[in-house]
Subunit: 496 residues, 2 copies
């Protein structure tokens, strides 16, 4: 603010701008080294914001330099730069004008896309693991080791299918833990199950499919995800064995997404007969089954049921991720593809994003081969089993008569509270008022019809029952107990 304070009147049209140049130049007092860039930036902002309007003639470089007490070269350079960029234009003779081409950004709207922060006292919504169990030290060590060990070329554009080391490690892991018939050449590393489903949908849409059958109840995300990929999602209700085969046949779809190891959200395991039925259906329609093995690593009463994919690797596309075992924020998952689809899926992955980030892949490969990943699964499994036990015990104590349906697995349960706690809308309102966030099974309905979910059918005592989907994995045992007690208190004391 030194020389610009002299306010010298140059005797031209530029003179009327003298005061404005001061505003334009908070940079005049900047260190000499950054002054040129500051001047350019200030001019750009002035044009963009409309403080300098289109068609305005700028003072000559000599005049402006005098006004601002900077060197003329600095001004000339700024004019040249902004002319090259299109903010200013030079006339046929001498002279520099503000360009007519410039438009400013529209003002930001209030709307916020960010996910809502946690407002509730206890949040039983399912889907997130305990993020405090993420093994930061182990991951950091694996990452550092990967960074030290990777050759330079591994930092270049990746194999779109994923780092060979990781695909080999995953083939071993999935074969060993989940009974997947995995060949590293047919594994595609991706950003998680959502991306895997998108890739599958896009490839099969390219082969003429227009529909995908989804479980009802099932993931509420499927509708939007498949719509974005160009497929219509047709809900297929569950019966007491799994996705209804007759509905599947009627749907006309040639692709079904299913969660056979632990159906989401009902928690049932698809029966052996229905597993065979799904495969027979896929062969009959020349279609595919997508097996979303979202929490297949966590079973507490026995060894997890192996993957459906192992029964027919040419008809089942298997997919999973580290979202439940490590953290969703890593955005790292995989699919094991039938040989007829592997190349196209890899090609789609390539056109989508050219492949996953190399370092995280190398770090995960390191964790899998060192055994650290198995240790992490055991650690999470122990914690989640304890939490499930606490939740079940608390429900039994505070909501006597509650029935827990589904197998002892995963990160959530389905609880059916006795009729005296219903009807459901009133219960949910009271829970909300008590600061307990939870979801009803009805929130996972993907279809319009009122098909009754399997365990509900078996257990239902009438329309008054309250069916809750309660996620427990992300909550400490004390928080689980607290949440159930808050609920019990709310039910006792508040009116619906």
């Amino acid at each position: 603010m030194t020389a610009s304070g002299t306010n010298r009147d140059s005797g031209t049209a530029g003179g009327t701008w003298t005061a404005a140049w001061e505003l334009l130049l908070p940079a005049a007092g900047a260190p000499a080294r950054g002054r040129g860039r500051a001047l350019q930036s200030a001019l750009r902002d002035a044009v963009r914001s409309g403080r300098l309007t289109a068609g305005t003639r700028l003072p000559s470089s000599r005049e402006l330099a005098l006004d601002l007490g900077v060197s003329r070269g600095l001004v000339t350079e700024a004019y040249e730069q902004l002319t090259a960029e299109g903010y200013l234009r030079s006339g046929r003779g001498a002279g520099t004008w503000v360009s007519e081409a410039v438009r400013s950004a529209a003002p930001p709207r209030a709307r916020d896309l960010a996910p809502r922060g946690p407002g509730a006292l206890v949040d039983f919504r399912a889907g997130t693991p305990d993020l405090s169990l993420f093994p930061r030290t182990t991951w950091a060590a694996a990452h550092r080791s990967a960074l030290d060990g990777l050759p330079h070329r591994a930092l270049g554009y990746p194999d779109p299918r994923g780092l060979p080391e990781l695909r080999t490690a995953l083939a071993g892991l999935l074969g060993r833990r989940r009974g997947v018939a995995a060949d590293p050449e047919r594994i595609v590393v991706c950003s998680g199950v959502a991306q895997a489903l998108t890739l599958v949908a896009q490839v099969l849409r390219g082969r003429g499919l227009s529909q995908v059958a989804v479980e009802d109840p099932g993931s509420p995300e499927h509708g939007a995800l498949f719509e974005a990929a160009g497929l219509t999602a047709s809900p297929v209700p569950l019966d007491d064995e799994g996705p209804s085969l007759s509905s599947l046949e009627r749907s006309g779809a040639r692709l079904v997404v299913t969660t056979p190891a632990h159906q989401f959200p009902t928690g049932m395991a698809v029966t052996p007969a229905r597993r065979a039925g799904l495969l027979a259906w896929a062969r009959a329609v020349d279609g595919y089954v997508v097996e979303d093995d979202y929490d297949g690593d966590f079973r507490y009463d026995r060894a997890p049921v192996g993957a459906l994919q192992g029964l027919d690797p040419e008809r089942v596309i298997y997919t999973g991720s580290v979202s439940k075992s490590l953290a969703p924020g890593l955005r790292l998952g995989w699919l094991a593809a039938p040989s007829a689809l592997a190349a196209e899926l890899a090609g789609r992955k390539r056109t989508t994003d050219l492949g996953n980030a190399a370092l995280d892949q190398a770090a995960l490969a390191e964790m899998v081969t060192s055994g650290a990943y198995d240790r992490q699964l055991r650690r999470c499994g122990r914690a989640y089993r304890e939490r499930r036990d606490v939740l079940v015990a608390e429900l039994e104590e505070h909501f006597p008569g509650t029935r827990i349906s589904g197998i002892a697995a995963g990160l959530h349960i389905i609880a059916r509270l006795p009729e005296r706690y219903g009807p459901e809308p009133g219960f949910l309102a009271r829970a909300r008022r008590a600061g307990v966030e939870l979801r009803s099974l009805a929130d996972y309905r993907t279809g319009q019809e009122s098909a009754v979910p399997p365990d509900a059918a078996e257990l239902s005592g009438g329309r008054g029952a309250v069916h809750l989907v309660l996620g427990y994995a992300h909550l400490a045992p004390s928080a689980i107990a607290h949440g159930v007690r808050l609920l019990a208190h709310a039910v006792r004391t508040s009116s619906p």
Copy 2:
């Protein structure tokens, strides 16, 4: 192999299997703890591979346990597990059969999807930075610091637009270095420019667009990328100012992808008039310009020309990445979106992959805010400028009369060798035989017509000229010199 070696004949149909069970059970000698799992795994493999065919009746658990010298419980458990998974089925009475549902994977095909490894002595193909300049120590420190500093919840499902800290850091960086009118609320962090283009194409296809105009010559990837996203790419030839406006108007497209700071591959800077013309076109057709600022950070003769986006943030979608400044293997990029598209682009990013990995985002934010990213850009800029100078000097010495076209920027040059080195096919064949990998400008043609690229038009001495696209950034100065000399030697000594 202890008890199974007794080869006891149980006196039933199982007896014919006795030898087979030995083959099935490399696990009988396994430590007792892992024996159950090994048995299950071996049975699964036997069914899958067809060694146990569909409909085969298995021996009773008692018989098999005796045969194998393991406890009966182990066998019962294995039968139960494989029945639940669908490999085996139980009959109505007693008995266990191999299921008819199982199919094995098709044998792997010889075809390999992996990118070809470097076979050439010197590889002048453009597109990759010097991966040895990746600042491993700095990145590791930033990653570690990010890991230490991130709250647990940042490891959960991310904001699909990207980590707020990174979007804020990028808005500052892009505004400061590239003149981008950036608002953190309108930045979407993505996996790189390829994904940004895919997201844009998908969103605009959803709004009824069916075409996208691309520069010709231009990126050879555009055709497949946009086809995968459902748009037809219409090549627009360049004239001596930039993409031809009359061709653009004739194309009927309402979306154009351009590289105004340093056109790829010709190296020209789009003129100020054409920049304004592109914006006027976008407004007239109610369309959009995608500005791919792929190497806008590297200009060696003057400050880089600022981004086109700054002139009209509501008509230009700006995109860039760390692929040239850090490493393509990080798969980390961004786009700055007009307000009318920001929410939809973020929504598409969400349905595509739910967002980028959190830790890498935090590490990049850390590098940007600490100034380490600017230092990296300066470091690369110095190295690449030196390499460009070496390449130009070597070409002048060994291929006198060669004209370098395009501005002094980026990671590659266009070199037009005098006619005496042509015609081009013979030159390229000799280069290949000499172990020098390179591309002709003709390889970047995206259209069918024989439009002459701008500098070529200016410089062309006839059809015999050799037009090369030479990437230099990834090569040490000595390798550059070696490559040019190899070429010169090949031209002197070998027949075409």
